[in-house]
C-alpha cells in the first residue's frame, strides 16, 4: 500500500546511504539498510535506491549481503542496467572459499529475474554443479531450472539434462531431490522427469535418508512409475509399508496415495492400506494445528465415499469441540452424517441435537439439515428430534426444521404423516423467506393432510402487501392453486383474491406472470390444471434405494493429497437443502418448462467414464423418461435367453450403478411380470432400456430386453448390451 510521504522517506534514505560518515560506521550503515528492506516489505517503492544498495553489497558482513541481495532480486526487473554493476561482485563471491558465500551468491544471481542474465549465470551454475560443498550443488541444481525459465524460447540444453540425471546419484539427499525438481521443470514440455525402473528403485532405496519434506515429494514423483510385474509391485509396496504409519502427515498422505494408485487393480490391498492409515489420519483430524485438522477431515471425507464403514466406530472423534472454528465444525457434521450406522446413530443424533441450539445460527441450521439427512435412513428418531426442536419456537430453528421437513418428505414419503402433524402452528414463528417457501411447499403438496392448511394460506394472502420476497409470492401462488385442487370449497374465495391482487397490483413481473399463467390454466378446467400442476409428492427415484452406493477409490484418488479436497465448497450453511430445493421446484412447479430445458442438457457429451464411456448424469426425470420412451422407436428387442437374477432388485441396482447405468424404476422382487427401466448416457447418446420377465416360470423363458436410443449408434448399443449381459450373468452366478 502506498504510504503518504513515501518520497520523503526515499530521499532521506538515499541521503543517509550515500553519506560517507554513515558508510564508515558499520552498524549505522546496516541499520539504514534494514530500514530500506522494511519499507520495501510494507509496499513502499524504494527502487530509486538501487545504486546505493548495489554499493552496499560489496561488504564482508553476510547479514548485510543477504539483505541487499533480497533487495536486488525484488527490483532487478525494474533496473536491469544497474544490476549489471552488481554482477561482478556476485561472480567474485561465487569463487569465495566459504561455501556459504558461494551458495548465497549463486542462489541470488539466479534469482535476478531479468532478460539477458543467462549469459552471466551459465558459467557459475556449471561450476556450481561440480562444487565439492553439497550446499552449493543444491543451489546450482535449482539454478538450472531457474535459468531454463528465463530463456523459455531456447531449446533444452541436453548436457544439463544429462548432468542432472547423473546427479540423481549424488550423495547429498537434498541435491538428489532438487535434481528431480529441476528436471521436472526443465522437461515440463515433454511431460516432466522420466521415472524408469532404475531411477524408481534408486529413489525407493534412498527414501529413508531423506527428511520428511523430501520424502513426501519423492513419493509424489513415484506416482508416475508403473511397476512391470506383480512381484515388483509387491516389493515396492512392502518397502513403502512403514511409511503408512508415519507420524508426519505429509508423508503419510503421500504414501497412502501412492499405495492406492499402485494397487489400483487389487482392491483388497487398497482397503488394507486405508485401514492401516486410519489411525494416523484420525490423529491428523485431532491435531493441535486447526488447519491440519481441517486438511485431515477433508481427506477423511473422501475416503468415506468409498469406505463408509471404516470410520463408523470412531464417530466420537468427529464430535465438534466448542473452541473449533466453524469451518471445521461444518466438515465434522458432514462426516458424522456419512458415517452413521445402526450402532452409533443414537449417540450421533444426540450430539447433533446439541448443536441445534448453538449460538451460531449457521451451525444450528447445518446441524438440523444433517439430522434431516440422517432421517432418510432413520426417519423415526430424527422426526422426534426435529419435532422437539419446533417447541423451542426460535425463528431460525423452526425455519431450518421446516426446510428439512420438506426435503425429508420428498426423499422419504413414509415420514409425511408425522411431518404434516408437526408442521401445524409453525407459521407464526417462521420469518425468513427460505422457511416460508418450504412451509408453503409443504402446504401445497401435502395440504390435504394438514387440517389448518387453508387458514395458514389465508394468513399469508392477507399479509401479501407486506411480503417482500417475490420467491415467497410465487411459491404461495403455486401452493394456493395446488391446495385449491384438493380442497376447492375452502380455497376458492381466497385464491380469487390472491390472483386478482397479483395480476392487478403486483409490481414484480415474475410474480405477475406466474399469476396470469395460473389464471389461464384454471380457465382450461380443473382436470387440465390437475394434470399440469400435480406432480409426484416424493422423489420417485428414491423410493427403493437404501444407503448410498459406494464410490470406487479411483474416483477420488487422483485428487487425494492435493488442494482440491480442501477447496470444494466454502462453508455453506445448508449443503443439502439448497440442492434439493432446485430439484423439487423444478420438478413440481415448473414441470413443463423443465422438460424442455433438461432435454438440451441431456445430450451434451459427458466426460468419459465407466466401462465404455458410460456415465450416470445428468439425471433423467421420470416424466422425461416416459416421454422419451413413448417418442422413440424401438432400436433393439432381444430375448436374453436366461432368467432374471434372483437376487434383490437393490443388488441389481447397485451392480448396474457400478458400470454407470442408472436404474430408474423396477417392480418388487416377487411380482410378475417383473420389469425394470434403465438408462445411461454414452458417448453423446442416451440409451433407455427395459428389462421384462414376462411369465411366472422363470426357468422356461428368458428375460426380454428392449432398447431405445437417441440418437442411434449401433456400436454403442452393442457395447451396452454386452455390458448389461455380463452384469446380469454375474449376478445370476452369484445367487445360484
Amino acid at each position: 500500500m502506498p504510504y503518504f510521504g513515501s518520497e520523503e522517506t526515499v530521499k532521506e534514505l538515499k541521503r543517509a546511504l550515500s553519506n560517507p560518515n554513515i558508510q564508515s560506521d558499520r552498524l549505522r550503515y546496516r541499520n539504514y539498510i534494514f530500514r530500506v528492506i522494511r519499507s520495501m516489505t510494507q509496499g513502499l517503492d524504494v527502487s530509486a535506491l538501487f545504486m546505493e544498495m548495489v554499493k552496499a553489497s560489496a561488504t564482508v558482513d553476510i547479514v548485510q549481503k543477504k539483505l541487499v541481495y533480497l533487495y536486488m532480486c525484488t527490483y532487478a526487473s525494474l533496473k536491469p542496467d544497474l544490476v549489471l554493476l552488481a554482477i561482478n561482485t556476485l561472480r567474485k563471491d561465487c569463487a569465495d572459499p566459504n561455501p556459504m558465500v558461494r551458495g548465497l551468491a549463486l542462489r541470488n544471481m539466479c534469482n535476478l529475474r531479468m532478460p539477458g542474465i543467462t549469459e552471466y549465470i551459465q558459467q557459475p551454475i556449471m561450476t556450481g554443479l561440480r562444487d565439492k560443498a553439497p550446499y552449493v550443488r543444491r543451489v546450482a541444481v535449482l539454478g538450472c531450472a531457474k535459468m531454463q525459465r528465463l530463456q523459455t524460447l531456447t531449446e533444452i540444453d541436453a548436457t544439463i539434462v544429462n548432468e542432472l540425471y547423473g546427479m540423481l546419484r549424488d550423495p547429498d539427499p537434498v541435491v538428489m531431490v532438487n535434481c528431480l525438481r529441476a528436471l521436472e521443470e526443465i522437461l515440463q514440455a515433454e511431460g516432466g522427469v522420466v521415472i524408469n525402473k532404475p531411477i524408481a528403485h534408486h529413489l525407493l532405496n534412498r527414501l529413508k535418508d531423506l527428511d520428511s519434506w523430501a520424502q513426501s515429494e519423492v513419493l509424489t514423483f513415484l506416482l508416475r512409475y508403473r511397476p512391470r510385474s506383480e512381484d515388483e509391485l509387491f516389493d515396492i509396496l512392502s518397502l513403502l509399508d512403514g511409511f503408512l504409519q508415519s507420524g508426519h502427515t505429509p508423508v503419510l498422505a503421500a504414501t497412502l496415495r501412492l499405495f492406492l494408485q499402485l494397487a489400483a487393480e487389487h482392491p483388497a490391498v487398497q482397503v488394507d492400506a486405508l485401514v492401516r492409515a486410519r489411525g494416523p489420519l484420525l490423529n491428523a483430524c485431532g491435531a493441535q494445528s486447526r488447519e491440519l485438522r481441517f486438511a485431515g477431515l477433508c481427506h477423511v471425507q473422501k475416503i468415506l465415499k468409498s469406505q463408509p464403514g471404516q470410520y463408523g466406530a470412531h464417530y466420537k472423534r468427529f464430535f465438534c469441540s466448542y473452541s473449533e472454528p466453524s469451518y471445521i465444525k461444518f466438515r465434522k457434521i458432514e462426516i458424522l452424517v456419512e458415517l452413521v450406522n445402526d450402532e452409533n446413530v443414537g449417540l450421533v443424533l444426540e450430539e447433533l441435537r446439541g448443536y441445534c441450539t448453538d449460538v451460531s445460527l449457521e451451525l444450528a441450521q447445518a446441524a438440523i439439515a444433517a439430522i434431516g439427512r440422517i432421517g432418510r435412513m432413520y426417519s423415526e428418531k430424527c422426526l422426534d428430534i426435529l419435532t422437539g426442536l419446533l417447541g423451542l419456537k426460535q425463528e431460525h430453528i423452526t425455519s431450518a426444521v421446516v426446510q428439512t421437513f420438506r426435503d425429508l418428505t420428498w426423499h422419504c414419503p413414509q415420514s409425511t404423516v408425522l411431518v404434516c402433524r408437526a408442521v401445524e402452528g409453525c407459521e407464526e414463528t417462521i420469518q425468513d423467506a427460505e422457511g416460508k417457501q418450504a412451509l408453503l411447499w409443504l402446504l401445497g403438496v401435502h395440504g390435504g393432510k394438514i387440517n389448518s392448511a387453508p387458514y395458514v394460506l389465508e394468513g399469508y394472502i392477507n399479509g401479501l402487501k407486506s411480503e417482500m420476497s417475490s420467491a415467497v409470492k410465487v411459491e404461495l401462488l403455486t401452493a394456493a392453486v395446488q391446495l385449491f385442487l384438493v380442497r376447492p370449497a375452502e380455497m376458492q374465495d381466497m385464491l380469487g383474491r390472491l390472483l386478482q391482487y397479483c395480476i392487478e397490483e403486483e409490481s414484480d413481473m415474475c410474480v405477475r406472470d406466474r399469476a396470469i399463467l395460473s389464471y389461464r390454466l384454471l380457465q382450461c378446467g380443473v382436470a387440465e390444471t390437475r394434470r399440469v400442476i400435480q406432480g409426484p409428492e416424493s422423489d420417485p427415484s428414491m423410493g427403493v434405494i437404501i444407503g448410498r452406493p459406494e464410490e470406487p477409490v479411483s474416483n477420488w484418488v487422483s485428487t487425494f493429497n492435493t488442494l482440491t479436497p480442501l477447496c470444494g465448497r466454502v462453508t455453506s450453511p445448508e449443503p443439502t437443502t439448497s440442492g434439493c430445493t432446485n430439484h423439487t421446484t423444478q420438478n413440481v412447479v415448473a414441470d413443463p418448462l423443465a422438460g424442455t430445458s433438461e432435454e438440451t442438457e441431456v445430450y451434451t457429451p459427458e466426460d468419459k467414464q465407466g466401462v465404455i464411456g458410460m456415465s450416470l448424469g445428468p439425471t433423467l426425470l421420470h416424466e422425461d423418461f416416459e416421454r422419451l420412451w413413448l417418442e422413440l422407436k424401438l432400436s433393439l428387442r432381444e430375448n436374453l435367453g436366461f432368467p432374471g437374477p434372483r437376487s434383490s432388485p437393490e443388488t441389481l441396482q447397485a451392480a448396474l450403478q457400478l458400470v454407470k447405468m442408472q436404474t430408474l424404476a423396477f417392480s418388487r422382487a416377487d411380482t410378475l411380470p417383473w420389469k425394470a427401466y434403465i438408462y445411461t448416457h454414452c458417448s453423446g447418446t442416451l440409451v433407455l432400456a427395459e428389462l421384462l420377465q414376462p411369465t411366472a416360470e422363470p426357468e422356461s423363458d428368458g428375460m426380454v430386453l428392449s432398447i431405445k436410443q437417441k440418437p442411434e449408434d449401433r456400436q454403442v448399443l452393442q457395447e451396452f448390451v454386452a455390458v448389461l449381459k455380463t452384469v446380469l450373468q454375474t449376478l445370476i452366478k452369484g445367487t445360484s
Partner: protein
C-alpha cells in the same frame, strides 16, 4: 511448490513478503487479504481467489493463523495441503524458537532474521531444509529481544504453577526466550521436557462419561549448544495398545504413539527409554493418544439445577466438584453456559470474592470464572436470570456447559518422566526441567 510466502497482521499490514518464483506480484497479498476477511469468522486454510483477475488465475492461498498473524503461502500448482500447512506451522515454530515468542512485535523486530530463515528454508519454491541443526549454521542475524530475559521473574506465574514451588519449577515464561541468546554466556544450559496433554471429554446429562479422549505429547525444548544424546525414561509399566499389559495394577496406558524421526527406540520396548540427540529449539519427541478410557475420574463434575422461578426469572444452581487429588490444583477454570436468548440481566451469588461471573449477551451465554480451584473442593454458584417471555421451551436452551481449564503438574494418563540423562555429562551446571500440564481441549457437560 510455493510461489510466495508472506506474513500479515490481522489488519492487513505486511510484515514479511518473499517471492520465490516471480509468478505473481505483491498485489496478490491484497487479493488474499480481501478473500480472508470478506466474511466474519475464521476462514478455512485454503482459499482460491482471482478467478476474475487474470494475473492470479488459478492461484491458491494456503494460510495458517498463529500468534494472531496470518502465515500464508501462495501457489500455482496443486501441492499437498498437508505439506504446505506443516511447512507454515514449522516456519511459525522456527520463528518462535529464534525470536522467543510469536507476536506482531517480535516478527516486526526480527524481520531480517525471518527473511534469512526463509532464504535458507526455501529455494525457488521448494523446501530445502527446516531442521534447526542445519539452519543454525546459516543464520547470522542476531535476535532482537524486546526486554532482557530473567529466568525467575516473579511476574511470570501461571501455566506451570510457579508460585507454589519456586525452587523446583521453572515458570512458564522460561521457554519464551529466543534460542540465539545462547550465543553469549548467559547460562544457556537448560533443557526443558514438557509432557502436555489435551483432554476432550463429553459427560452426558446422567453423569455418564460419553467420550473421553486424551492427546498427549512430549515436547523438548533445548537450549544446550551441543548435546550428544539424551535419554528420557518413561514409566516402566507403560503399555501401548489395547491388548498389551505390563506390570501390575496401575499401568499407564495409551492406545497409540508415534515418535519423532530422530528418536532411537532400541531401549523403548524393554525399558521404555527414548534416546534422542535433541537439536536446539523445540521439537515434539513423542505423540500419543488414549481414546474412550480415562484411567482416572474426569477432573470435573457438575451438578446443575435449572428451575423456573416466579415471573420471568430463571434460577440456575451450579455445583462444581473438582475430582483431582487434594495436592493438585486447577487454574483459570472458566465455565460457559448457554442461556435462553432473551435473557436481559443476571444476578449471582458466588462463594468467594476471587470468582467472577458475567452475562455475555453476544454469545447469549453465562461465563463463570474461577482463577484457582483446589483438588477435592466443591464450589457452588447461584444465578438468577431475568428472561422476558420465559416459556418452558426456553429451559431447553440452557446448556450444554463447556469448561476451560489448565491442570499444572498433572497428566491424566499418569505418564511420568522417570529420569533425564544427558551424555556426555554437560560441563558446568546444566539445568534439566520436566514439567507436566493438562489442557482442556473440549470439556462438555450436558444438562
Amino acid at each position: 511448490m510455493i510461489s510466495q510466502v508472506f506474513i500479515l497482521t490481522t489488519s492487513g499490514d505486511h510484515l514479511i513478503y518473499k517471492d520465490f518464483r516471480g509468478e505473481a506480484g505483491v498485489d496478490a497479498i491484497r487479493t488474499f487479504y480481501e478473500a480472508v476477511t470478506a466474511l466474519s469468522g475464521d476462514q478455512p486454510p485454503v482459499v482460491m481467489v482471482g478467478l476474475g483477475v487474470q494475473s492470479h488465475k488459478g492461484m491458491h492461498f494456503v494460510h495458517v493463523k498463529q500468534g494472531g498473524l496470518y502465515w500464508a503461502a501462495s501457489t500455482k500448482s496443486n501441492p499437498s495441503p498437508f505439506t504446505v500447512i506443516e511447512f507454515l506451522n514449522r516456519l511459525a515454530a522456527l520463528t518462535k524458537d529464534y525470536c522467543g515468542s510469536l507476536s506482531e512485535k517480535s516478527v516486526r523486530m526480527n524481520f531480517a532474521l525471518i527473511y534469512e530463515l526463509l532464504d535458507e528454508m526455501v529455494d525457488y519454491g521448494y523446501i530445502q531444509t527446516t531442521s534447526t541443526d542445519m539452519l543454525k549454521n546459516f543464520i547470522q542475524t542476531e535476535t532482537m529481544s524486546s526486554k532482557p530475559f530473567s529466568l525467575f521473574e516473579l511476574g511470570n506465574v501461571g501455566l506451570f504453577g510457579a508460585e507454589t514451588q519456586q525452587s523446583k519449577v521453572a515458570p512458564s515464561a522460561a521457554t519464551s526466550r529466543p534460542l540465539m541468546f545462547t550465543r553469549g554466556d548467559q547460562g544457556g544450559n537448560e533443557i526443558f521436557v514438557d509432557v502436555i496433554e489435551r483432554l476432550s471429554v463429553i459427560i452426558g446429562s446422567n453423569g455418564v462419561v460419553m467420550k473421553a479422549d486424551i492427546e498427549g505429547e512430549i515436547r523438548v525444548k533445548c537450549y544446550l549448544p551441543g548435546c550428544s544424546e539424551m535419554r528420557i525414561g518413561l514409566n516402566e509399566e507403560l503399555s501401548i495398545g489395547k491388548s498389551q499389559l505390563r506390570g501390575y495394577g496401575m499401568a499407564v496406558r495409551m492406545d497409540e504413539c508415534s515418535f519423532h524421526q530422530a528418536v532411537k527406540l532400541d531401549e523403548f520396548d524393554a525399558y521404555r527409554i527414548l534416546k534422542i540427540c535433541p537439536s536446539q529449539g523445540e521439537q515434539t519427541v513423542m505423540q500419543y493418544q488414549l481414546c474412550d478410557d480415562l484411567p482416572c475420574a474426569p477432573p470435573f463434575r457438575l451438578f446443575p439445577t435449572v428451575e423456573r422461578d416466579i415471573g420471568n426469572r430463571l434460577l440456575i444452581y451450579l455445583k462444581l466438584r473438582c475430582d483431582l487429588s487434594p495436592k493438585s490444583v486447577a487454574l483459570n477454570v472458566s465455565v460457559t453456559l448457554p442461556i435462553p436468548k432473551g435473557s436481559v440481566s443476571l444476578s449471582q451469588e458466588l462463594s468467594s470474592p476471587d470468582q467472577s461471573a458475567e452475562l455475555q449477551s453476544k454469545n447469549k451465554a453465562l461465563q463463570w470464572d474461577i482463577p484457582r480451584f483446589p483438588g477435592g473442593a466443591q464450589l457452588s454458584a447461584l444465578f438468577k436470570l431475568e428472561v422476558p417471555g420465559l416459556s418452558s421451551a426456553s429451559l431447553q436452551e440452557v446448556g450444554p456447559v463447556s469448561l476451560c481449564f489448565e491442570l499444572p503438574k498433572h497428566t491424566c494418563t499418569g505418564l511420568q518422566v522417570r529420569f533425564l540423562r544427558l551424555t556426555p555429562t554437560q560441563p558446568g551446571s546444566s539445568q534439566r526441567w520436566v514439567r507436566y500440564v493438562t489442557h482442556s481441549d473440549s470439556y462438555t457437560i450436558r444438562i
